[in-house]
Symmetry: C2
Subunit: 188 residues, 2 copies
Amino acid sequence: MVFSMTKPPRLSKQDWLKAGFRALTKHGPSGLKAEPLARSLGTTKGSFYWHFKDIGQFREAMMAHWEQRAYTDVVSHLEAEPSVPKRLRLLGQIAANAAWPDYGDGPIEPAIRAWSRSEAMAAQAVLRVDARRLHYLGGLLAEIGLTNPDFARIIYAGLIGLEDLSSRDDKPVETPLGTLIDIVLTLE
Amino acid sequence: MVFSMTKPPRLSKQDWLKAGFRALTKHGPSGLKAEPLARSLGTTKGSFYWHFKDIGQFREAMMAHWEQRAYTDVVSHLEAEPSVPKRLRLLGQIAANAAWPDYGDGPIEPAIRAWSRSEAMAAQAVLRVDARRLHYLGGLLAEIGLTNPDFARIIYAGLIGLEDLSSRDDKPVETPLGTLIDIVLTLE
DNA sequence: ATGTAACCATACGCTGGCGTATGGAAAAGG
DNA sequence: CCTTTTCCATACGCCAGCGTATGGTTACAT
């Protein structure tokens, strides 16, 4: 007697990617395997290998998907706000709640960064994203007269570390991140 | 014709742990396997399974080794310095150069933290170490009148993030970390 | 309704790592 | 020296995941 759990008869590429991110946050990179993923979706690897050539291509698709959203998705949300200080704080808010809706239970960035330590291709993607974000942040700070190049790095590093800590002890990212941004802003 | 690479005839538990940390930083958690480690040491897994019951115990030994040094080793270096601000800056120095001598090429903390995302036992160890470090740091800041509990978290998160970034783009940890500490210290 | 393309299940051989068992070499001690 | 302990090599059976092949379903268009 089979359980009648809503079983979508057919799966899309997106469904597989979503399952990939969920597995990544839950089990780490070692969760990115065809058969376990198939089981988590209630199907078999026959489906997987129809949508993707092999595991490598699947992982590349995941990273490509993340890399695209990681920068554009966030920055586009800020275009509306003209005031730079307010924009910085808004950036903090967005980054703090960066858990992609229903792409997993927890935040994915720490999982991605962890993954990138065991796979060169993921490392390169993270490197590119970091560079773009740092460049953007640096420009933002320069607009309000903060030219010390360390500042962008400090804020971004703070975000990374706070996300890491939060994902472990469940304390919020937003509060200390807001404090940090305020501290830097009061440097004039 | 075999290469005459200095081949220590017999290996100690420590040798295996060192190889473990090297593999962890180089390949990630997936490098922590008996046979590949044996190959990297020019021996066979017969040796591995003599020193360790199984892979799980080996990994636990690695984490135990790290957990012990991670806190005690660092804090004991500070006992000499009585001035709290100086001690903070010294802490920054030590943490920045936290690459353990010859336990691997790069810094191990990011690798450990990444590892801890795929293994519950490692996650708990990191959680304990973070708690102790944060507590220590909080006490240090309290001594100079900085009671905002966010500050310790900000500094520690900054360190974590800076180590992560550094391990990717090879820029130093120390400079921005020093700046961050100075900024917090000037808050009175 | 029927044909075509999209999608999935199953079975197969293969590889890599696991842990055990057993015998042998190499130090250490007497 | 000879024994005992320590350490390592090899061979074995096992299992999980890989990628392929092949046939079966389901959707969709005509």
